[in-house]
Protein backbone atom coordinates (compact mmCIF):
# COMPACT_ATOMS: atom_id res chain seq x y z
CA UNK A 1 0.00 0.00 0.00
CA UNK A 2 1.43 3.42 -0.88
CA UNK A 3 0.50 5.32 2.26
CA UNK A 4 -0.15 3.58 5.56
CA UNK A 5 -1.19 5.59 8.57
CA UNK A 6 -1.87 4.46 12.08
CA UNK A 7 -1.49 7.27 14.58
CA UNK A 8 -2.72 8.57 17.89
CA UNK A 9 -2.32 12.14 19.04
CA UNK A 10 -3.92 13.96 21.95
CA UNK A 11 -5.65 17.18 20.96
CA UNK A 12 -7.24 19.85 23.12
CA UNK A 13 -10.52 18.07 23.86
CA UNK A 14 -10.30 14.72 22.10
CA UNK A 15 -7.69 12.41 20.64
CA UNK A 16 -6.87 11.93 16.99
CA UNK A 17 -6.90 8.15 16.57
CA UNK A 18 -6.90 6.94 13.00
CA UNK A 19 -5.73 3.94 11.06
CA UNK A 20 -6.11 3.65 7.30
CA UNK A 21 -4.29 2.94 4.06
CA UNK A 22 -4.49 5.33 1.15
CA UNK A 23 -4.18 4.13 -2.43
CA UNK A 24 -2.82 6.05 -5.37
CA UNK A 25 -5.32 8.72 -6.41
CA UNK A 26 -7.29 11.37 -4.57
CA UNK A 27 -8.87 10.62 -1.20
CA UNK A 28 -11.22 13.20 0.28
CA UNK A 29 -11.16 13.64 4.04
CA UNK A 30 -14.46 15.09 5.12
CA UNK A 31 -15.22 16.37 8.58
CA UNK A 32 -16.62 19.31 10.51
CA UNK A 33 -14.24 22.09 11.54
CA UNK A 34 -12.10 20.94 14.43
CA UNK A 35 -12.51 17.23 13.65
CA UNK A 36 -8.73 16.82 13.47
CA UNK A 37 -8.38 16.91 9.67
CA UNK A 38 -5.59 19.49 9.50
CA UNK A 39 -3.73 17.85 12.38
CA UNK A 40 -3.84 14.55 10.51
CA UNK A 41 -2.20 16.16 7.47
CA UNK A 42 0.41 17.91 9.64
CA UNK A 43 1.32 14.60 11.29
CA UNK A 44 1.78 12.95 7.89
CA UNK A 45 3.86 15.87 6.59
CA UNK A 46 6.08 15.73 9.67
CA UNK A 47 5.12 19.12 11.08
CA UNK A 48 3.55 17.56 14.16
CA UNK A 49 4.65 14.48 16.01
CA UNK A 50 1.96 11.91 16.85
CA UNK A 51 1.88 10.55 20.39
CA UNK A 52 2.33 7.06 19.02
CA UNK A 53 1.80 5.02 15.88
CA UNK A 54 3.32 4.43 12.51
CA UNK A 55 3.39 6.18 9.13
CA UNK A 56 4.84 4.50 6.06
CA UNK A 57 5.00 5.77 2.50
CA UNK A 58 5.84 3.25 -0.25
CA UNK A 59 7.37 0.91 2.34
CA UNK A 60 9.54 3.75 3.66
CA UNK A 61 8.94 4.31 7.37
CA UNK A 62 8.42 8.00 8.11
CA UNK A 63 7.36 7.61 11.70
CA UNK A 64 7.37 4.71 14.10
CA UNK A 65 7.00 5.38 17.80
CA UNK A 66 8.17 1.90 18.75
CA UNK A 67 11.29 1.94 16.60
CA UNK A 68 11.79 5.59 17.58
CA UNK A 69 11.86 6.71 13.95
CA UNK A 70 10.68 10.19 13.05
CA UNK A 71 11.85 11.44 9.67
CA UNK A 72 12.01 15.25 9.60
CA UNK A 73 9.58 17.09 7.32
CA UNK A 74 12.38 17.95 4.88
CA UNK A 75 13.18 14.28 4.35
CA UNK A 76 9.65 13.00 3.79
CA UNK A 77 9.13 14.03 0.17
CA UNK A 78 5.50 14.88 0.81
CA UNK A 79 3.96 17.91 -0.84
CA UNK A 80 1.76 19.95 1.45
CA UNK A 81 -0.57 22.63 0.17
CA UNK A 82 -1.42 25.05 2.96
CA UNK A 83 -4.84 26.57 3.33
CA UNK A 84 -3.39 30.09 2.98
CA UNK A 85 -0.98 28.80 0.27
CA UNK A 86 2.09 30.02 2.24
CA UNK A 87 3.83 31.32 -0.86
CA UNK A 88 7.09 33.12 -0.05
CA UNK A 89 6.16 36.80 -0.46
CA UNK A 90 9.73 37.87 -1.25
CA UNK A 91 10.11 35.43 -4.13
CA UNK A 92 8.57 35.45 -7.59
CA UNK A 93 6.38 32.63 -8.82
CA UNK A 94 9.36 31.00 -10.57
CA UNK A 95 11.53 31.43 -7.47
CA UNK A 96 8.81 29.96 -5.28
CA UNK A 97 8.59 26.89 -7.51
CA UNK A 98 12.41 26.68 -7.65
CA UNK A 99 12.73 26.62 -3.85
CA UNK A 100 12.44 22.85 -3.58
CA UNK A 101 14.69 22.26 -6.62
CA UNK A 102 17.79 23.58 -4.89
CA UNK A 103 19.87 20.49 -5.52
CA UNK A 104 19.09 20.12 -9.24
CA UNK A 105 21.56 21.38 -11.86
CA UNK A 106 20.36 24.77 -13.19
CA UNK A 107 19.43 23.39 -16.64
CA UNK A 108 17.22 20.63 -15.18
CA UNK A 109 15.74 23.10 -12.74
CA UNK A 110 14.69 25.43 -15.55
CA UNK A 111 13.15 22.53 -17.48
CA UNK A 112 11.18 21.37 -14.46
CA UNK A 113 9.93 24.87 -13.69
CA UNK A 114 8.86 25.42 -17.31
CA UNK A 115 6.92 22.17 -17.30
CA UNK A 116 5.19 23.00 -14.01
CA UNK A 117 4.34 26.52 -15.15
CA UNK A 118 2.72 25.02 -18.24
CA UNK A 119 0.78 22.31 -16.41
CA UNK A 120 -0.60 24.76 -13.85
CA UNK A 121 -1.41 27.39 -16.51
CA UNK A 122 0.84 30.05 -15.01
CA UNK A 123 2.64 31.03 -18.22
CA UNK A 124 3.42 34.75 -18.27
CA UNK A 125 3.26 35.04 -14.49
CA UNK A 126 6.71 33.60 -13.74
CA UNK A 127 8.20 36.92 -12.69
CA UNK A 128 5.22 38.10 -10.63
CA UNK A 129 5.27 38.23 -6.86
CA UNK A 130 2.52 36.40 -4.94
CA UNK A 131 0.85 39.72 -4.04
CA UNK A 132 0.39 40.39 -7.76
CA UNK A 133 -1.59 37.17 -8.29
CA UNK A 134 -5.28 36.45 -7.88
CA UNK A 135 -6.37 33.89 -5.31
CA UNK A 136 -6.72 31.20 -7.97
CA UNK A 137 -3.28 31.95 -9.40
CA UNK A 138 -1.72 31.83 -5.94
CA UNK A 139 -3.35 28.47 -5.43
CA UNK A 140 -1.92 27.14 -8.68
CA UNK A 141 1.52 28.53 -7.88
CA UNK A 142 1.43 26.80 -4.49
CA UNK A 143 0.37 23.58 -6.22
CA UNK A 144 3.23 23.87 -8.72
CA UNK A 145 5.69 24.50 -5.87
CA UNK A 146 4.46 21.43 -3.97
CA UNK A 147 4.61 19.24 -7.10
CA UNK A 148 8.10 20.50 -7.99
CA UNK A 149 9.80 18.18 -5.51
CA UNK A 150 8.05 15.23 -7.19
CA UNK A 151 6.46 14.26 -3.89
CA UNK A 152 5.52 10.68 -3.18
CA UNK A 153 2.24 11.93 -1.72
CA UNK A 154 0.31 15.16 -1.91
CA UNK A 155 -1.63 16.69 0.98
CA UNK A 156 -4.10 19.50 0.41
CA UNK A 157 -5.56 21.42 3.33
CA UNK A 158 -8.91 22.99 2.39
CA UNK A 159 -7.61 23.96 -1.05
CA UNK A 160 -10.75 25.85 -2.05
CA UNK A 161 -11.82 27.37 1.25
CA UNK A 162 -10.06 30.71 0.79
CA UNK A 163 -11.45 31.31 -2.69
CA UNK A 164 -14.48 33.27 -3.85
CA UNK A 165 -17.30 31.12 -5.19
CA UNK A 166 -16.73 32.09 -8.81
CA UNK A 167 -13.08 31.02 -8.61
CA UNK A 168 -13.80 27.68 -7.00
CA UNK A 169 -15.01 25.80 -10.05
CA UNK A 170 -11.99 27.07 -11.98
CA UNK A 171 -9.52 25.90 -9.31
CA UNK A 172 -11.46 22.68 -8.88
CA UNK A 173 -10.97 21.96 -12.57
CA UNK A 174 -7.22 22.55 -12.09
CA UNK A 175 -7.16 20.11 -9.18
CA UNK A 176 -9.04 17.49 -11.18
CA UNK A 177 -6.51 17.91 -13.97
CA UNK A 178 -3.67 17.54 -11.46
CA UNK A 179 -5.18 14.43 -9.88
CA UNK A 180 -5.62 12.88 -13.32
CA UNK A 181 -1.89 13.29 -14.01
CA UNK A 182 -0.52 12.76 -10.51
CA UNK A 183 -1.31 9.14 -9.68
CA UNK A 184 0.03 8.95 -6.14
CA UNK A 185 -1.77 9.18 -2.80
CA UNK A 186 -3.42 12.61 -2.58
CA UNK A 187 -5.21 13.48 0.63
CA UNK A 188 -7.62 16.36 0.34
CA UNK A 189 -9.12 17.82 3.48
CA UNK A 190 -12.42 19.67 3.23
CA UNK A 191 -15.57 20.43 5.17
CA UNK A 192 -17.54 20.88 1.95
CA UNK A 193 -19.57 17.77 1.13
CA UNK A 194 -19.86 18.44 -2.60
CA UNK A 195 -16.17 19.26 -2.97
CA UNK A 196 -15.28 16.06 -1.14
CA UNK A 197 -17.49 14.06 -3.47
CA UNK A 198 -16.39 15.70 -6.70
CA UNK A 199 -12.63 15.67 -6.05
CA UNK A 200 -12.08 12.42 -4.17
CA UNK A 201 -12.25 8.94 -5.61
CA UNK A 202 -12.38 7.56 -2.12
CA UNK A 203 -13.84 9.18 0.94
CA UNK A 204 -12.84 9.21 4.59
CA UNK A 205 -15.21 10.77 7.10
CA UNK A 206 -13.53 12.05 10.24
CA UNK A 207 -15.50 12.84 13.36
CA UNK A 208 -13.85 14.07 16.55
CA UNK A 209 -10.54 12.48 15.65
CA UNK A 210 -11.95 9.10 14.62
CA UNK A 211 -12.75 7.53 11.29
CA UNK A 212 -16.54 7.39 10.97
CA UNK A 213 -16.47 5.96 7.45
CA UNK A 214 -13.88 5.06 4.85
CA UNK A 215 -14.33 3.63 1.39
CA UNK A 216 -15.84 4.25 -2.03
CA UNK A 217 -17.62 7.60 -1.97
CA UNK A 218 -20.68 6.35 -3.89
CA UNK A 219 -21.26 3.60 -1.34
CA UNK A 220 -20.85 5.92 1.67
CA UNK A 221 -23.31 8.43 0.25
CA UNK A 222 -25.79 5.77 -0.87
CA UNK A 223 -25.70 3.90 2.38
CA UNK A 224 -24.04 5.71 5.30
CA UNK A 225 -22.83 3.15 7.85
CA UNK A 226 -24.14 5.15 10.80
CA UNK A 227 -26.24 8.17 11.68
CA UNK A 228 -23.17 10.33 12.28
CA UNK A 229 -21.86 9.75 8.76
CA UNK A 230 -25.34 10.31 7.37
CA UNK A 231 -25.39 13.71 9.07
CA UNK A 232 -21.82 14.60 8.03
CA UNK A 233 -22.55 13.68 4.42
CA UNK A 234 -25.49 16.07 4.44
CA UNK A 235 -28.47 13.86 5.24
CA UNK A 236 -31.17 16.10 6.69
CA UNK A 237 -33.75 13.45 7.65
CA UNK A 238 -32.79 10.92 10.30
CA UNK A 239 -35.21 9.24 12.69
CA UNK A 240 -34.76 6.73 15.45
CA UNK A 241 -36.09 3.38 14.19
CA UNK A 242 -37.52 0.12 15.57
CA UNK A 243 -38.22 -3.00 13.54
CA UNK A 244 -41.76 -4.37 13.65
CA UNK A 245 -42.66 -8.05 13.67
CA UNK A 246 -44.15 -7.84 10.16
CA UNK A 247 -40.84 -6.65 8.67
CA UNK A 248 -41.76 -2.98 8.47
CA UNK A 249 -39.88 -0.31 10.39
CA UNK A 250 -41.33 2.08 12.86
CA UNK A 251 -39.80 5.57 12.52
CA UNK A 252 -40.09 6.82 16.07
CA UNK A 253 -39.37 10.51 15.40
CA UNK A 254 -41.69 10.66 12.43
CA UNK A 255 -44.39 8.53 14.04
CA UNK A 256 -45.04 6.33 11.00
CA UNK A 257 -44.56 2.75 9.72
CA UNK A 258 -42.24 2.36 6.76
CA UNK A 259 -41.28 -0.43 4.48
CA UNK A 260 -37.59 -0.34 3.67
CA UNK A 261 -34.93 -2.57 2.21
CA UNK A 262 -32.64 -3.70 4.93
CA UNK A 263 -29.29 -4.65 3.48
CA UNK A 264 -27.22 -5.04 6.64
CA UNK A 265 -29.34 -7.63 8.39
CA UNK A 266 -28.47 -5.99 11.71
CA UNK A 267 -31.18 -4.56 13.87
CA UNK A 268 -31.61 -0.96 12.70
CA UNK A 269 -31.50 1.90 15.19
CA UNK A 270 -31.88 4.78 12.75
CA UNK A 271 -33.56 5.33 9.44
CA UNK A 272 -32.79 8.15 7.03
CA UNK A 273 -33.59 9.64 3.68
CA UNK A 274 -31.88 12.45 1.80
CA UNK A 275 -33.87 15.64 1.24
CA UNK A 276 -33.80 15.41 -2.56
CA UNK A 277 -35.00 11.80 -2.52
CA UNK A 278 -38.32 12.71 -0.96
CA UNK A 279 -40.90 12.48 -3.68
CA UNK A 280 -44.25 14.14 -4.29
CA UNK A 281 -46.35 11.73 -6.41
CA UNK A 282 -48.37 13.32 -9.16
CA UNK A 283 -51.69 14.27 -7.53
CA UNK A 284 -53.63 13.45 -10.71
CA UNK A 285 -52.39 9.86 -10.72
CA UNK A 286 -54.26 7.13 -8.91
CA UNK A 287 -51.33 5.74 -6.93
CA UNK A 288 -52.64 7.14 -3.73
CA UNK A 289 -52.01 3.93 -1.88
CA UNK A 290 -48.38 3.48 -3.00
CA UNK A 291 -45.83 2.32 -0.48
CA UNK A 292 -44.75 4.84 2.16
CA UNK A 293 -47.11 7.54 0.98
CA UNK A 294 -48.26 9.89 3.72
CA UNK A 295 -50.26 13.07 4.00
CA UNK A 296 -48.18 16.09 4.98
CA UNK A 297 -48.49 19.79 5.69
CA UNK A 298 -46.06 22.56 4.86
CA UNK A 299 -44.61 24.26 7.94
CA UNK A 300 -42.20 26.65 6.25
CA UNK A 301 -39.94 26.85 3.21
CA UNK A 302 -36.63 28.29 2.15
CA UNK A 303 -35.65 29.16 -1.41
CA UNK A 304 -32.43 29.13 -3.41
CA UNK A 305 -32.39 30.33 -7.06
CA UNK A 306 -33.33 26.98 -8.56
CA UNK A 307 -34.43 24.78 -5.72
CA UNK A 308 -36.70 25.01 -2.75
CA UNK A 309 -36.48 23.38 0.65
CA UNK A 310 -39.81 22.38 2.17
CA UNK A 311 -40.16 21.69 5.89
CA UNK A 312 -42.99 19.20 6.22
CA UNK A 313 -45.04 17.87 9.09
CA UNK A 314 -47.03 14.60 9.16
CA UNK A 315 -49.65 16.21 11.40
CA UNK A 316 -51.80 19.24 10.67
CA UNK A 317 -50.01 22.29 12.11
CA UNK A 318 -51.71 23.87 15.08
CA UNK A 319 -51.15 27.40 16.32
CA UNK A 320 -47.65 28.82 16.09
CA UNK A 321 -45.85 25.48 16.13
CA UNK A 322 -43.09 25.29 13.53
CA UNK A 323 -42.10 21.71 14.32
CA UNK A 324 -41.45 19.65 11.25
CA UNK A 325 -40.65 16.00 10.52
CA UNK A 326 -39.03 16.08 7.09
CA UNK A 327 -36.93 18.38 5.04
CA UNK A 328 -37.49 17.92 1.29
CA UNK A 329 -35.65 19.55 -1.55
CA UNK A 330 -37.26 19.92 -5.00
CA UNK A 331 -36.60 21.83 -8.17
CA UNK A 332 -38.80 24.84 -8.62
CA UNK A 333 -40.37 23.48 -11.83
CA UNK A 334 -41.70 20.55 -9.85
CA UNK A 335 -42.74 22.72 -6.93
CA UNK A 336 -44.91 24.82 -9.26
CA UNK A 337 -47.06 21.77 -9.99
CA UNK A 338 -48.27 21.28 -6.46
CA UNK A 339 -47.66 24.56 -4.63
CA UNK A 340 -51.25 25.75 -5.07
CA UNK A 341 -52.95 22.44 -4.31
CA UNK A 342 -54.90 22.21 -1.07
CA UNK A 343 -53.08 20.63 1.85
CA UNK A 344 -52.45 17.98 3.01
CA UNK A 345 -50.14 17.05 0.16
CA UNK A 346 -48.92 13.55 -0.34
CA UNK A 347 -45.29 12.69 0.18
CA UNK A 348 -43.55 9.44 -0.70
CA UNK A 349 -40.50 7.99 1.01
CA UNK A 350 -39.55 5.41 -1.62
CA UNK A 351 -38.23 2.18 -0.03
CA UNK A 352 -35.16 2.19 -2.27
CA UNK A 353 -34.25 5.69 -1.08
CA UNK A 354 -34.52 4.90 2.63
CA UNK A 355 -31.47 3.58 4.42
CA UNK A 356 -31.21 1.83 7.75
CA UNK A 357 -28.33 2.33 10.14
CA UNK A 358 -27.36 0.00 13.00
CA UNK A 359 -25.95 2.89 15.06
Amino acid sequence: MPLEIQIEKKLADFALDVSFRADDGPLSILGASGAGKTMLLRCIAGLERPGRGRIALNERILFDSEQKIAVAARGRRIGLLFQNYALFPHRTVAENIAFGLHSLPPADRTLRITALIASTHLAGLEQRYPRELSGGEQQRAALARALAIEPEALLLDEPLAALDTHLRSQVEAQLQETFAAYRRPSLLVTHNIEEAYRLGEQLLVLSRGRIAAFGAKEEIFRHPPNAEVARLTGCKNISRARPNADGTIEALDWDCQLSARDASGKSPKYIGIRAHHIDFPDPSSEVISGRNVFPCWLVRRSETPFRITLFLSFVAPHGESSEYHLQAEVFKQKWRHFRDLPQPWRVQLAPESLFLMPD
Partner: protein
Protein backbone atom coordinates in the same frame (compact mmCIF):
# COMPACT_ATOMS: atom_id res chain seq x y z
CA UNK B 1 40.49 70.24 20.08
CA UNK B 2 41.29 66.54 20.25
CA UNK B 3 38.74 64.65 18.08
CA UNK B 4 39.94 61.16 19.08
CA UNK B 5 36.88 60.42 21.30
CA UNK B 6 34.65 60.68 18.22
CA UNK B 7 36.68 58.17 16.21
CA UNK B 8 37.07 55.86 19.20
CA UNK B 9 33.31 56.01 19.87
CA UNK B 10 32.43 55.31 16.23
CA UNK B 11 34.96 52.46 15.89
CA UNK B 12 33.81 50.93 19.19
CA UNK B 13 30.11 51.18 18.35
CA UNK B 14 30.52 49.83 14.83
CA UNK B 15 32.57 46.85 16.01
CA UNK B 16 30.22 46.17 18.92
CA UNK B 17 27.18 46.38 16.61
CA UNK B 18 28.72 43.96 14.11
CA UNK B 19 29.50 41.47 16.87
CA UNK B 20 26.04 41.89 18.42
CA UNK B 21 24.36 41.39 15.07
CA UNK B 22 26.03 38.03 14.47
CA UNK B 23 25.81 36.77 18.05
CA UNK B 24 22.31 38.16 18.56
CA UNK B 25 20.96 36.49 15.41
CA UNK B 26 22.63 33.21 16.27
CA UNK B 27 21.22 33.38 19.80
CA UNK B 28 17.66 34.14 18.66
CA UNK B 29 17.76 31.46 15.96
CA UNK B 30 19.05 28.97 18.52
CA UNK B 31 16.49 30.03 21.08
CA UNK B 32 13.54 29.80 18.65
CA UNK B 33 13.57 26.03 18.63
CA UNK B 34 13.65 25.69 22.41
CA UNK B 35 11.01 25.83 25.10
CA UNK B 36 10.75 25.21 28.81
CA UNK B 37 12.09 26.76 32.02
CA UNK B 38 15.71 26.30 30.96
CA UNK B 39 15.12 28.42 27.88
CA UNK B 40 13.39 31.08 29.98
CA UNK B 41 16.46 31.22 32.22
CA UNK B 42 18.65 31.70 29.15
CA UNK B 43 16.35 34.53 28.06
CA UNK B 44 16.78 36.11 31.49
CA UNK B 45 20.56 35.93 31.28
CA UNK B 46 20.58 37.37 27.74
CA UNK B 47 18.38 40.32 28.71
CA UNK B 48 19.93 40.96 32.13
CA UNK B 49 22.48 43.60 30.91
CA UNK B 50 19.52 45.73 29.85
CA UNK B 51 18.27 46.17 33.40
CA UNK B 52 21.42 45.84 35.52
CA UNK B 53 23.23 49.06 36.45
CA UNK B 54 26.12 49.47 33.98
CA UNK B 55 28.46 49.49 36.99
CA UNK B 56 27.36 45.96 37.87
CA UNK B 57 27.97 44.82 34.28
CA UNK B 58 31.33 46.60 34.33
CA UNK B 59 32.32 45.04 37.63
CA UNK B 60 31.31 41.53 36.49
CA UNK B 61 33.30 42.00 33.28
CA UNK B 62 36.24 43.19 35.33
CA UNK B 63 36.04 40.03 37.44
CA UNK B 64 35.87 37.93 34.26
CA UNK B 65 38.61 39.64 32.27
CA UNK B 66 40.77 40.89 35.18
CA UNK B 67 44.24 39.59 35.96
CA UNK B 68 42.78 36.86 38.20
CA UNK B 69 39.57 36.30 36.26
CA UNK B 70 39.01 33.02 34.36
CA UNK B 71 39.11 34.66 30.92
CA UNK B 72 41.80 37.15 31.97
CA UNK B 73 44.17 34.35 32.97
CA UNK B 74 43.56 32.57 29.70
CA UNK B 75 44.31 35.72 27.72
CA UNK B 76 47.48 36.50 29.68
CA UNK B 77 48.76 33.10 28.64
CA UNK B 78 48.50 34.16 24.96
CA UNK B 79 49.97 37.52 25.82
CA UNK B 80 46.86 39.68 25.71
CA UNK B 81 45.37 41.92 28.34
CA UNK B 82 41.86 43.20 27.84
CA UNK B 83 41.39 45.51 30.78
CA UNK B 84 42.17 49.18 30.05
CA UNK B 85 42.59 48.58 26.31
CA UNK B 86 40.47 49.47 23.28
CA UNK B 87 38.96 45.95 22.96
CA UNK B 88 37.61 46.49 26.48
CA UNK B 89 35.42 49.35 25.17
CA UNK B 90 34.10 47.00 22.49
CA UNK B 91 33.37 44.24 25.00
CA UNK B 92 31.54 46.59 27.35
CA UNK B 93 29.47 48.11 24.53
CA UNK B 94 28.70 44.67 23.07
CA UNK B 95 27.43 43.22 26.34
CA UNK B 96 25.27 46.25 27.05
CA UNK B 97 23.84 46.46 23.52
CA UNK B 98 23.29 42.71 23.09
CA UNK B 99 19.86 42.53 24.80
CA UNK B 100 18.42 45.09 22.37
CA UNK B 101 19.60 43.08 19.39
CA UNK B 102 18.36 39.84 20.92
CA UNK B 103 14.92 41.21 21.76
CA UNK B 104 14.31 42.94 18.44
CA UNK B 105 15.57 40.09 16.28
CA UNK B 106 13.53 37.55 18.26
CA UNK B 107 10.44 39.70 17.82
CA UNK B 108 11.16 40.10 14.10
CA UNK B 109 11.71 36.35 13.59
CA UNK B 110 8.60 35.45 15.56
CA UNK B 111 6.53 37.68 13.30
CA UNK B 112 7.36 35.60 10.24
CA UNK B 113 4.32 33.49 9.34
CA UNK B 114 5.11 30.00 10.71
CA UNK B 115 3.40 28.45 7.69
CA UNK B 116 6.15 29.88 5.47
CA UNK B 117 8.80 28.23 7.62
CA UNK B 118 6.90 24.95 7.59
CA UNK B 119 6.34 25.16 3.83
CA UNK B 120 10.10 25.58 3.35
CA UNK B 121 10.70 22.48 5.49
CA UNK B 122 8.26 20.33 3.51
CA UNK B 123 10.10 21.44 0.35
CA UNK B 124 13.21 19.75 1.65
CA UNK B 125 15.16 22.76 2.93
CA UNK B 126 17.69 22.34 5.74
CA UNK B 127 17.16 24.41 8.89
CA UNK B 128 20.05 26.68 7.84
CA UNK B 129 18.47 27.29 4.44
CA UNK B 130 15.09 27.92 6.03
CA UNK B 131 16.71 30.54 8.26
CA UNK B 132 18.83 32.17 5.57
CA UNK B 133 16.37 32.13 2.68
CA UNK B 134 13.00 32.48 4.36
CA UNK B 135 13.17 33.67 7.98
CA UNK B 136 15.99 36.18 7.59
CA UNK B 137 14.81 37.99 4.44
CA UNK B 138 11.32 38.33 5.90
CA UNK B 139 12.52 39.43 9.34
CA UNK B 140 15.19 41.70 7.91
CA UNK B 141 13.42 45.07 8.44
CA UNK B 142 12.98 44.35 12.14
CA UNK B 143 16.55 43.14 12.44
CA UNK B 144 17.87 46.28 10.79
CA UNK B 145 15.84 48.40 13.21
CA UNK B 146 17.43 46.42 16.05
CA UNK B 147 20.87 47.03 14.58
CA UNK B 148 20.36 50.80 14.55
CA UNK B 149 19.08 50.71 18.11
CA UNK B 150 22.11 48.65 19.09
CA UNK B 151 24.51 51.11 17.54
CA UNK B 152 22.85 54.02 19.36
CA UNK B 153 23.03 52.14 22.65
CA UNK B 154 26.70 51.21 22.12
CA UNK B 155 27.48 54.83 21.35
CA UNK B 156 25.93 55.93 24.62
CA UNK B 157 27.66 53.33 26.79
CA UNK B 158 29.45 54.86 29.79
CA UNK B 159 29.45 52.98 33.10
CA UNK B 160 30.65 49.54 32.08
CA UNK B 161 33.18 51.05 29.67
CA UNK B 162 34.69 53.24 32.37
CA UNK B 163 35.06 50.29 34.74
CA UNK B 164 36.53 47.87 32.21
CA UNK B 165 38.41 50.20 29.87
CA UNK B 166 39.11 53.22 32.07
CA UNK B 167 39.83 56.63 30.62
CA UNK B 168 42.96 56.58 28.48
CA UNK B 169 42.83 59.55 26.09
CA UNK B 170 43.43 58.49 22.52
CA UNK B 171 42.79 54.82 23.36
CA UNK B 172 39.73 54.18 25.47
CA UNK B 173 38.27 57.66 25.87
CA UNK B 174 34.85 57.55 24.17
CA UNK B 175 32.52 60.54 23.85
CA UNK B 176 30.49 59.85 27.03
CA UNK B 177 33.70 59.42 29.02
CA UNK B 178 35.18 62.57 27.50
CA UNK B 179 32.06 64.47 28.60
CA UNK B 180 32.30 63.15 32.15
CA UNK B 181 35.92 64.14 32.55
CA UNK B 182 35.41 67.49 30.83
CA UNK B 183 32.68 68.38 33.31
CA UNK B 184 34.84 67.17 36.19
CA UNK B 185 37.70 69.39 34.95
CA UNK B 186 35.32 72.36 34.62
CA UNK B 187 35.77 72.46 30.83
CA UNK B 188 32.10 73.29 30.25
CA UNK B 189 32.55 74.32 26.66
CA UNK B 190 34.30 71.08 25.67
CA UNK B 191 31.57 69.08 27.44
CA UNK B 192 28.92 71.03 25.54
CA UNK B 193 30.53 70.35 22.17
CA UNK B 194 30.66 66.59 22.87
CA UNK B 195 27.09 66.67 24.17
CA UNK B 196 25.94 68.37 20.98
CA UNK B 197 27.77 65.78 18.85
CA UNK B 198 26.32 62.89 20.83
CA UNK B 199 22.78 64.28 20.71
CA UNK B 200 23.21 64.97 16.99
CA UNK B 201 24.36 61.45 16.08
CA UNK B 202 21.69 59.80 18.21
CA UNK B 203 18.95 61.99 16.84
CA UNK B 204 19.95 61.26 13.25
CA UNK B 205 20.04 57.52 14.01
CA UNK B 206 16.68 57.44 15.76
CA UNK B 207 15.01 59.56 13.09
CA UNK B 208 16.45 57.26 10.44
CA UNK B 209 15.14 54.28 12.41
CA UNK B 210 11.61 55.69 12.61
CA UNK B 211 11.64 56.77 8.99
CA UNK B 212 12.83 53.31 7.99
CA UNK B 213 10.29 51.50 10.15
CA UNK B 214 7.48 53.58 8.73
CA UNK B 215 8.64 53.11 5.15
CA UNK B 216 8.94 49.37 5.78
CA UNK B 217 5.48 49.29 7.25
CA UNK B 218 4.04 50.86 4.11
CA UNK B 219 6.14 48.57 1.94
CA UNK B 220 4.95 45.45 3.74
CA UNK B 221 1.36 46.58 3.52
CA UNK B 222 1.82 46.92 -0.20
CA UNK B 223 3.48 43.52 -0.39
CA UNK B 224 0.61 42.01 1.51
CA UNK B 225 2.85 40.39 4.11
CA UNK B 226 1.05 38.83 6.98
Amino acid sequence: MDWSPLWISLATSLTATAVTLVVGLAASAWRESRTGPGAALIDGIFILPLVLPPTVVGFLLLLLFGRNGPLGKLLIRVGATIVFSWPATVIAATVVAFPLMYLTSRAALEQVDPHLIQAARTLGASEWRVFREVALPLAWPGILAGTILCFARALGEFGATLMLAGNIPGRTETIPIAIYFAVEANETQRAMVWCAIDVGISLVLLSALYYWTHAQHLHRQRLGYR
